[in-house]
Amino acid sequence: MRAALPVLLAMLLLFGGFAHAQAIEPMPFASHAQEVRFQHLTAQLRCPMCQNETLADSNAPIARDLRNQIFQLMQHGQSDEQIKQYLVERYSDYVLYDPPLKAGTVLLWFGPLLILLGGAGVVLMAIRKRSRGSLAADTPSDSAPTDNGDDW
């Protein structure tokens, strides 16, 4: 077992390196700035096949094809916005990790706010009820205090 460990480690290093080389193959970038731009752009885009990975990280064949396509479009002088538009036209807003604000995404953008407001409403109601309850308890009354149900 102990003897097998170095072999295992060596294999891990070797094949781990291969897997990485396969995932992000070197591309002939015109400049370092372009490479940085490419990495930045692909990290904002979602792989349509494996929807929890970015195009930059994914090893799926379609992600590789799309990375190549983005690279080609960059060589043709397209801007980041144009490239995003190109992908959205074909794969819909799903490719964007940052979805645009429009009719179909209103719930996505403001849903959490709605839930927050709803929760605030419930809390407000509870506080009002409780303060009214304590006010009633403060005023002297002839009858014995009754259970108002606020025992939780």
Binding site: P48, M49, Q51, P61, I62, D65, L66, Q69, V88, E89, R90, Y91, S92, Y94, K129, G149, D150, W152
Partner: protein
């Protein structure tokens, strides 16, 4: 009343949870609705699988509706779908166009020899470039394209008997009603 409030909250959560499960059995969470639906299909020029020197273009196929089926020999789910296509192709009433996606031609030919060839026209996209224009991200995918070259219906994932009966055939019937 307020004593029951947590219970109602719990029931609400159970209903929401149940709805989530039901929704996921009815819908493929991986399926991306195509933005190309009801838009003109992208222009393409692709070689035939069996005659690589002969090209088929979008305009060659205009005039009659057809079902473009994206498949590949490496695609496991295509093998699941294939018997359905074999059985249904003659009764669909539209041309079935096979779109061999990112496949070595020899592998595709071997696969078709083994599983049968239901396609009226067979084109091959080995680099997968044109498929990007179609928004293809996996196989199998099927596009119903009308006589004007507009994509009218898309199915992602294997065609099942159920999908053919409840979605594809009604969509084809609607097309045929339009153009008598």
């Amino acid at each position: 009343m307020s004593r029951l409030l947590p219970f109602f909250g719990f029931v609400l959560l159970v209903v929401l949870f149940g709805f989530g499960i039901w929704w996921n059995t009815q819908h493929d969470p991986q399926a991306i609705p195509s933005p190309l639906l009801n838009k003109p299909a992208p222009a393409f020029v692709l070689p035939k699988l069996y005659e690589p020197t002969v090209n088929v273009s979008k305009s060659d196929l205009l005039g009659k509706p057809y079902l473009l089926n994206v498949f590949a020999s490496w695609c496991i789910e295509c093998g699941v779908e294939h018997p359905v296509l074999q059985a249904e192709a003659p009764t669909l009433g539209v041309l079935l166009v096979g779109y061999d996606y990112k496949d070595a031609p020899d592998d595709a030919k071997r696969w078709l020899a083994e599983h049968g060839n239901p396609y009226g026209v067979l084109i091959a996209d080995q680099p997968g470039q044109t498929a990007i224009d179609f928004g293809v991200y996996g196989a199998p995918e099927s596009f119903l394209i009308d006589s004007q070259g507009v994509i009218r219906y898309k199915h992602i994932g294997p065609m099942t008997e159920d999908v053919v009966a409840t979605e594809l055939k009604p969509a084809i019937a609607a097309l045929q009603k339009e153009t008598p």
